[in-house]
Structure formats: C-alpha cells, structure tokens
C-alpha cells in the first residue's frame, strides 16, 4: 500500500503561495481557516528559505493521540483524517501539532472554536466519496478520483511534491544528484555562502 506524504523542496520554493491559493479555492475554505501556509525563514536576508507547510500526515500523529474524543483516523494510504461530526472543537490537536495544521473557524461559540478543519491530502472525509456533504465539510476528494493534492499539482516550481513516499524520495534524490556537486549549481535560491 502507498504511504502518502508531502515534501517541500526548500531550494525551489519561491514563496509564490500558489499552493495556499489553490487549496483555499478548491476546497472552498471559509475565511480565517488556513489549511496550508508558506513559512519563510530569514526573510530578506542572505540564505532566505521558504517552505510550504500543511498537515504532514504523521505516522504517529500527536493530534490523534491527544484528541479527547478520538475523532482522528488514518486511511490505508497513511492519510490522517478526522470526523467533524465527532469533533468538539477543544483545540488540543492544534496545541499538539508541531506544524500548527489544525485550524478553527472564528464564528463559533464562546471558546471561539468551531469544528476543527485541516489539510486532508485532498482525500475528503468519512462521508461518502464525492458527495455534496463531503465537499461541504471536508472539501474536494481528489484521491478517490486517482489524482494528487491540488497544492502540489499547482506548485509553480514543483517544489511541493505529494504522493507515495517512495516515489517522492526517488524524485528528490534524482534532483540532488542532478544539482551536482558544486555550490554554484544549486537551485533558484543558490548563493556562494549559505
């Protein structure tokens, strides 16, 4: 069985935010919820790098471990999803996630948290595949159509890779080899020192 993962090539990411926009548009995400974001380290300085971050679909997900109502489940492909019908909006998964993937709509009750929303690897949720209920709650289900997540498909420099872990690591390894041994030949954000 495949083990689905994301990998963002920091040397290619140009911070265009196409992945962010594609995700928001395709999954019809409400205002205030950010499934994917691009984080830039050392912005404006030499050695600036950007990474596109969303749910990393961890094999031993801390969000699933800490959830007090156990609303998370992992599909056969290794994609970590959750059931919004069970979620109580407590926010613990947001505290536990190293990447800050879980998001909460701001329009709900006193604790200002509605049901949690996060990147689903474009694999929908527990509802029936490609039903309108599933789209309303979880967004597009591309995996059931045999496609890959839209963020990776829309990446302008193919920095963001999504798919089976073996395939991705293979692609990345080939890139490293092709980039050669000299620092002069490194990707877009190359520089002599750092």
């Amino acid at each position: 069985m495949a083990r689905m993962k994301f990998y963002c090539d920091a040397e290619r990411c140009i911070e265009c935010n196409a992945c962010v926009t594609a995700c928001k548009n395709e999954n019809d995400i409400p205002w205030g919820v950010n499934r994917r974001r691009v984080v830039t380290i050392k912005d404006g300085e030499q050695g600036e790098r950007s990474l596109s971050v969303a749910c990393m679909h961890c094999s031993d997900a801390p969000c699933a471990a800490v959830c007090p109502v156990d609303c998370f489940y992992t599909t056969g492909d290794g994609i970590v999803l959750h059931d919004k019908d069970i979620c109580i909006g407590c926010g613990y998964c947001f505290y536990a996630c190293p990447f800050g993937a879980p998001q909460f709509p701001k329009d709900a009750a006193f604790a200002s948290r509605g049901k949690m929303d996060k990147c689903t690897f474009c694999a929908g949720g527990p509802e029936e595949d490609n039903s309108s209920d599933e789209f309303k709650k979880y967004g597009r289900n591309r995996i059931s159509e045999g496609k890959l997540p839209l963020c990776a498909e829309m990446c302008s420099t193919k920095a963001l890779l999504a798919g089976d872990a073996d395939v991705i690591s293979d692609i990345y390894r080939k890139r490293i080899v092709n980039r050669g041994g000299s620092a002069f030949n490194w990707g877009v954000s190359s520089n002599i020192k750092g």
């Binding site: 912005d43 471990a65 109502v69 505290y95 009750a109 948290r113």
Partner: protein, 350 residues
C-alpha cells in the same frame, strides 16, 4: 613554442582535474564555501530544539503561523496523555479509597457527651448561600472537567464514539460557561470569610496534635481550626490560579501563542486535580465524617457541644455572651412544632 603549448594544455586541464576530484569538502576548501547544501546551516539551526527556535514569517497571518515546528506541542501532548490523565485518575480514585477506609476504621467522629439540642448561630444566610453556590459550581466544573480529561480512556470504550462525543461536547460547553461563575463565587467566598481565616496563635498547636483526627484528645481551635483555614486558602489561591488559567484557555481570540495555552492547560489541570482530591476529604469531614458538622452549613446553627468539642475558643465566646439558643427556640426558628426537636438531641447530651 612547446612550453607555451604545454602551459596552455595545463591551464585547460586544471579545472577539469579539480571538478573531477568531487565536490569540495568543507574542511579543505580554500575559497570558504561552507557546505554542500547551502541551506544546511539554516536547517541545523531550525532543528535545534534547545537553542533559539528560528521563527519565520508567513503571508498567512494566524496564531503562530510563523513557527515552522513547535516541538513543545508533542511534549505537552505526551505529558497530558501519559502522566496527567493517568496520575490524575489515580489520585481521584485514591482519595475515595482513603475516605472509605477512614470511615470504615474510624467511623463517624462522635462528640463527647453527644449532641445537646442547644444550638448557637454559626453562619448567616448569605454565608451559606455563598458556600453552596461555590460548591455547586465547583462540582459541575469538576465533573465536566473529568469527563474531558479521563473520558477517552474510561467512557469512550463503553459509550462508543458518537455518544461519547455528545457528552464531551456538552461537558466542554458547560465547563467553559460555568468557569467565570467559579471566579465570581470565589470572590464572594473570599470577601465573606477572609477575616476569620487568618492564621493565629494556637493553629500550629492544632496542627502538631494532628487536629484530633489521630487518636483521642481535645484539641483547641478558634472559629475556624487550622485545617479549615488551610483548606480555605488552598481554595482561594489555587482556585484563582485555576480561574485565571481557565480564562486564558477559553479566550483564544487574543492571539495567545500555543506555549501559553499549553502552560495554562497544565497549570489548570494540576490545580484542579489538587482541589478535587482535597475537596473529597472536605466533603467527607463536613458530612458523614463528623457528628454535627453538616448542620452548620444547612441551617446555620450548630450544637453547642459540637462547638465546644471542635472550636472551643469560639464556643467559650458563645457561652460568655449568652448566644446559645434552647432546643425549643431552635425548633420554633426552624418552623418545627414546639417539642419536636428533630433528630438532633441525643439522650446523653440533654
């Protein structure tokens, strides 16, 4: 001519030689190229958990959106699951066991000479209202809080995910709404009882004698004994910490980072567990553990024998200032027919 050709050939070959030797190693590169991967130093810095966590920026502006990795989150999650839930559950179970054992071994602590039926006023209406308001709010918060902390391990296997999530959602909303009520009740309790709970001479003696709980023997106490005062200050101080951390947790719209939420959560839970365990002891001693104790919080009056046995310095004041109410008068005050003194007076005490 030959030397020039050789020199030319040499110059052409030289760069090929150097690149054929492979990628320049960091130690022996004369030009100062730092490493193979130009980002290696940066990522090493990002991965340092103990050092300064490198915070980036993001075009997406939300809480902590600039943080690439928050490693403390996983630490907090593991702490909550492995230590907080399990030790907390054990503590709650343990106090019930201890209290049961205490009752089985020691039984209801009687008053020497029994109850007389002659009463003295201890708490006003308002003071009792404050106490029971705090008690009801606290019990509700305790039960809903325990469902959130322990429900996944104890209730979910029995009820199933759908039904349990109903309870959990109800508990979370109820807990969040009643939280500020706890703060208000706490302030009311502080204002009502603070003066009488200030430690004074004689409290240390009370503590050293074990409060009379161990063995027999008369221990002197004021209006409140040292045990009650300590419990009072625990409720006020730990209660305030719980309330403040709870307010932080329940209002995420001020943009608090995750570390402050995690810290508040830990402080909140540990404080609550401490208060819950000691409150079981308080509830036991105030009701079935000690003869004549509950009456004070129900009607506001306590038996004079009870006052002399447990709070003799205050009892003496009641004797001196003639504040004692006879059994008949007390029955009348409580709306009972004269002569019907209820179950308060015992044969020996009259």
């Amino acid at each position: 001519m030959r030397i020039q050709t050789l020199l030319l050939l040499f110059c052409l070959v030289l760069p090929q030689l150097s690149s054929a030797a492979g990628p320049p190693k960091s130690q022996d590169s004369p030009q100062g190229v730092s490493s193979i991967n130009p980002g290696a130093d940066l990522w090493r810095e990002v991965r340092q958990r103990d050092g300064e966590i490198l915070e980036g920026i993001s075009q997406v502006k939300s809480v902590d959106s600039g943080f690439l990795i928050n490693a403390r989150g996983d630490e907090w999650a593991r702490f909550r699951i492995t230590k907080l839930s399990s030790y907390g559950g054990i503590a709650i179970a343990a106090i019930f066991v201890i209290v049961t054992l205490l009752y089985v071994v020691r039984g209801k602590i009687p008053i020497e000479g029994g109850l007389s039926g002659r009463m003295v006023r201890r708490f006003t209406d308002y003071e009792r209202i404050v106490h029971w308001t705090l008690a009801i709010v606290f019990l509700f918060l305790a039960i809903t809080g325990l469902i959130l902390l322990l429900g996944k391990s104890l209730l979910l296997p029995i009820l199933g995910k759908e039904v349990f999530s109903l309870f959990a959602s109800a508990s979370k909303e109820g807990h969040n709404l009643f939280g500020p009520l706890f703060l208000v009740s706490l302030i009311m309790m502080f204002l009502s009882f603070a003066r009488r709970n200030i430690y004074e001479n004689g409290d240390l003696t009370w503590l050293l004698k074990g409060g009379g709980l161990i063995g027999k023997g008369h221990v002197s106490g004021g209006f409140f004994n040292m045990g009650e005062k300590t419990w009072y200050w625990m409720v006020i101080l730990i209660g305030f910490v719980i309330a403040i951390s709870g307010l932080i947790l329940v209002s995420p719209f001020f943009g608090q980072g995750r570390w402050i939420m995690e810290l508040s959560h830990v402080v909140h839970t540990i404080g609550a567990l401490i208060l819950m365990t000691v409150s079981v002891g308080h509830m036991y001693l105030g009701s079935i553990g000690s003869e004549g104790a509950l009456e004070g919080m129900k009607s506001g009056y306590v038996d004079i024998n009870w006052a002399d046995a447990h709070h003799d310095r205050w009892g003496k004041v009641c004797h001196d200032e003639n504040l004692i109410v006879s059994a008949e008068d007390y029955a009348r005050l409580q709306g009972r027919k004269p002569g019907d003194t209820g179950e308060l007076a015992t044969e020996q005490g009259k």
